[in-house]
């Protein structure tokens, strides 16, 4: 806030009044003030935008912004804000991107402190950046027809979302409020998916030779609706807040299954029979949740908060209605019921200004009450109950010279339900019933200073657990795998259950070097080391990141920002047949921004951003690295955004935006060096590796009075 000397000479106000008296009507002051404090405005922005290149040039640029398909588009936005000062009634009506497939409209009215409602409509299309080149008829429908002899044609998948939201709120008394909201979203389109099999002895039901197999790209057809309804009542007092409510969420899928037709006379009949099996798509499901949440201040230095919620989630869509066939004797639907309870308690104590203690405990119980049934011969569905507890405690003390030291303890416990006798554990060597993690944090922070704020923190945590046990099918028994007698050195152990040692360090510094220059420094480093009774699987993962941000005020009119960040993530995984993968991801990002005024009525600005992301997939035999098996995946993007705004008068502006983006994306997922990955029917997926697009938009912005 600006302050000024009060006791010399003429005040600015007197000067201002004198000027007004001399050159303007007396009410000019009121007009001036009214303009500064009245929110009422109606702004309409209309214009035209053009984008260079073709759809392939705009694949990444136009993923969500509506420019994938369009070379020319209408830019249309508006906003109306009104406040009735006498009643405090706000009216807001706005629309954005109205000329595109990601348009939004919102309307709301609120009598502040009394009642309010809102309604919104939105559309959003995700244009799959990759093109599908296929001969499949009905690709992206529930009945695709595969014909390897068919000619190929190119198409782009889309997923369109249309959403409607409604919200209501009413203050019944100054301390009692009710809120309700409803949101429905319709999803329509398709996404990359597929089926595949290579015949082997696991395909017992088909006369399928071990020498045949097929992979097919069959996009998943999507036509579903999600609905969410929430109603809650909030009661508050001087020292408490209680909030209780209901949250219901419902998923309904019009496409319950996909039934491919394989028109390939030369293919093995058994293989074709397998590929024509029905693919289950996501079933309808619903969840009902009741919750109570709030906080309480025992006094000015002891506060608590809590949350209790119970959720019942069910999934009972009949298999027959989904076009799925269950074996005789199985129930008509899965009859799934999962009951979850979450309880949380937090406590914050500040016995003296320099000392604070906080603690938080959270417990989550997921009870899978779904009946077991033999869906796969001797095997049933897997019970999925779990318990999870997390807690943390922090002690923080303000030291001399503005330093604050914090000591923290973190705890996490996870218990998963044991598989039963009829559970099939495929592709896993072993499981463990529970894990427990204990961690410590130390932080030193300088929290108050004119020019510099710094913090250094170190976190260490160790996760351990019960003995690993493998399941003996049909016996409802575990075979224990002890560390002392590693009997499965090439076993597969889920990383979420493995022992883990975690170390992290973070250094932050904010420095106001001068009144006009601020700098921010950050260094992050961390490593997770994993262990299990095997020499294989995930060994370790790590991350290092450092960066500098700067903001410089050149003058009242001109400001500069800049940043550079470098990050590296590593992952070492060892495979059971003797190769090790060293996966590195290195990201360099650089940004430069400027905003300023060329003249009183001309504002300009720009941002330049460069990102260089490189993923290395190094394979080795034992500890010997074998580079070159898989090429690096490299993503480089340079984006330049410029804008200029010219004020024609107090009511109207002209704004011009220019965006230029260059992208280079070398990867091997869908092809390498110009050789596409071919599906069995010659379908391929492609994206132009170099993309360059320039967008130019001009708008006329008018503010109605």
């Amino acid at each position: 806030m600006k302050t000024r000397r009060q006791h010399f000479g003429l005040s600015h106000k007197l000067l201002f009044l004198a000027v007004l008296a001399a050159f303007g009507p007396v009410h000019a002051e009121d007009d001036e003030v009214a303009q500064l404090i009245k929110p009422d405005s109606t702004v309409v922005s209309a214009g035209l935008g053009v984008a260079s290149g073709n759809s392939a040039d705009r694949a990444i640029f136009g993923q969500y912004n509506g420019w994938r398909k369009n070379e020319v588009g209408i830019l249309l936005d508006f906003e109306l804000i009104r406040r009735d000062d006498a009643s405090g009634l706000w009216t807001n009506f706005s629309g954005s991107n109205l000329g595109f497939d990601n348009r939004e409209l919102t309307f709301s009215q609120q009598k502040q402190g009394d009642w309010g409602y809102s309604a919104g409509y939105s559309e959003l299309v995700r244009h799959e950046p990759r093109s599908v080149i296929t001969g499949v008829l009905g690709s992206g429908t529930t009945n695709p027809v595969v014909n390897p002899a068919a000619g190929l044609s190119e198409s782009n998948l889309e997923l369109k979302r249309k959403g409607l939201t409604v919200g209501l709120e009413k203050w019944l008394t100054p301390n009692l409020m009710v809120e309700a909201s409803f949101k429905t979203e319709k999803k329509d389109g398709a996404r990359l998916s597929g089926i595949g099999v290579t015949c082997s002895n696991v395909i017992a039901g088909y006369p399928c030779s071990a020498t045949t197999g097929a992979l097919l790209l069959l996009p998943e057809p999507i036509n579903s609706t999600t609905q969410q309804f929430e109603a809650k009542i909030n009661l508050s007092g001087d020292n408490y807040l209680l909030s209780g409510g209901y949250y219901g969420s419902f998923f309904s899928n019009s496409n319950s299954s996909m039934k491919p037709v394989i028109n390939a006379p030369t293919w093995n009949a058994g293989l074709v029979g397998y590929l024509q099996q029905t693919v289950a798509l996501p079933p309808d499901n619903q969840a009902h949740q009741f919750y109570l949440s709030g906080n309480y201040a025992f006094n000015s230095w002891i506060r608590a908060n809590f949350h209790v919620a119970h959720t019942k989630a069910t999934q009972d869509q009949d298999f027959a209605s989904m076009g799925l066939v269950a074996a005789a004797g199985l129930p008509p639907n899965f009859g799934a019921e999962v009951n979850s309870t979450v309880a949380q308690l937090g406590l914050s104590v500040r016995p003296m200004p320099k000392l604070s203690l906080t603690g938080n405990w959270r417990y989550e119980d997921v009870k899978d009450d779904t009946p077991l049934a033999l869906y796969n011969g001797a095997f049933t569905n897997t019970p999925n109950s779990s318990e999870k507890a997390t807690g943390k405690a922090d002690l923080s003390y303000v030291l001399p010279v503005g330093f604050r030291a914090t000591l923290g303890v973190d705890y996490a416990y996870m218990k998963r339900q044991r598989p039963v006798a009829t559970t099939s554990i495929t592709s896993l060597t072993s499981l463990r019933e529970w894990t427990e993690e204990l961690g410590y944090r130390v932080e030193l922070r300088r929290s108050m200073s004119d020019t510099i704020n710094t913090s250094v923190s170190w976190t260490t945590a160790i996760r351990e657990g019960e003995h690993w046990m493998s399941l003996i099918p049909g016996a409802n028994l575990y075979k224990e795998v002890r560390y002392v007698d590693i009997n499965d050195p090439i076993g597969v152990f889920p990383f979420t259950m493995m022992d883990r040692k975690r170390d992290k360090i973070r250094v932050l510094a904010d420095w106001m070097a001068t009144d006009d220059l601020s700098l921010q420094f950050i260094v992050d480093s961390g490593k997770d080391s994993y262990a299990a009774p095997t020499t294989k699987g995930l060994h370790d993962s790590g991350m290092q990141s450092y960066g500098i941000d700067a903001a410089l005020t050149l003058s009242e009119a001109w400001k500069l920002t800049a940043y550079i960040n470098h990050g590296k993530q590593t992952l070492h995984v060892d495979h059971n047949v003797g190769y090790i993968a060293a996966l590195d991801n290195v990201t360099l990002s650089v940004g430069l921004g400027v905003i300023g005024k060329l003249a009183k009525n001309i504002e300009v600005g720009g941002d330049l951003m460069y990102i260089d992301d490189s993923s290395r997939y190094q394979l080795g035999s034992g500890n010997a690295e074998l580079p070159g098996v898989l090429p690096d995946v490299v993503y480089r993007a340079t984006t330049l955004k410029l804008f200029g705004k010219y004020a024609l008068d107090k009511s109207a502006d002209v704004r011009v935006d220019l965006v230029h983006q260059r992208v280079k994306f070398d990867e091997w997922t869908w092809g390498n060096n110009g050789t596409p990955f071919l599906y069995s029917d010659n379908t391929m997926v492609a994206m132009q590796p170099k993309q360059s697009v320039t967008y130019l938009g001009a708008r006329y912005v008018y503010r109605f009075k």
Partner: protein
Amino acid sequence: MKLWRRFSVLCFFLGAVAVLPSVVAAEIASPVAMKEVPKDLVLKGDAVCTRCHDEADGPDLLAIGKTRHGTLADSRTPSCTSCHGTSKDHLGYKGSDKPPKPDVTFGAKTKVAAEIRNAACQDCHKKDSNRSHWEGSVHQSNDVACSSCHKVHVAKDKVRDKLTQTETCLTCHKEQRAQINKPSHHPIVEGKMACTDCHNPHGSVGPKLMKRATVVDTCYTCHMEKRGPFVHSHQPVNEDCSNCHNPHGTTAENLLKTRAPFLCHTCHTPHGPTQPSLTKGSVTGWWNGSDITQGRACLNCHTQIHGSNNPSGASPSAQRLFR
């Protein structure tokens, strides 16, 4: 003569006594002599501040009138001193140099503890159920003040607009700044999603300030088709989406942390001598080549990786998430 003089003095004195109050009163009431009583400009009782910080001194400050705080019809709205304190030293300063600062200031250089700054806001906003878990939250315990993110003296607080919100959040969360610009990302840079679509920065019951009580429940608000429960489930999927996905952005498809098969190999290493490669494997040794590396990699066959509701026991069973 002496008597006359005494009479005159008495008359003058009485007259003075009788007339003086009315003269004084008239003088006080006179428009010429009356000092101007400052009027409120924006907020109730703001005259004590706006007599100096007026439209000429600080026009930007008056923009608070355009906000919800400036809605005078709402009796709950604050005055300047509600947030900045009574600031007696600042208001009563008689010196000729720079006056002391108000009791509570919110700028970048403030020396006022975050807790005190936040108390100014929480006095009113503690009734908001979305802020019930501020105490003990990661932002609170790291001395993030309301004013670190919010601006109240502007018509539009950019952190409350999803088009501009990320500018504020990325000021501290640098790692995410690069991630949201990777090719596989949520529509954040396009302004169709904001950080607060998933996170509640004012504190939450869930981890990582998730809006709902768990990671999966937060993701299900948009991706409810992944909820199931399915006849054949995939346990890490049920537990935490971030086991496999980085929601802020990656270069791998579908926001995967790394590409399959390597991601899958962190838990699974089946299929014998699997060797990722870009060369087509032999039919009998198909797993030793591009079929498990390219396209959707492991998901080429295990397509229903989030779970399958297929009850069919026909071989091969849907249990392995084939269909």
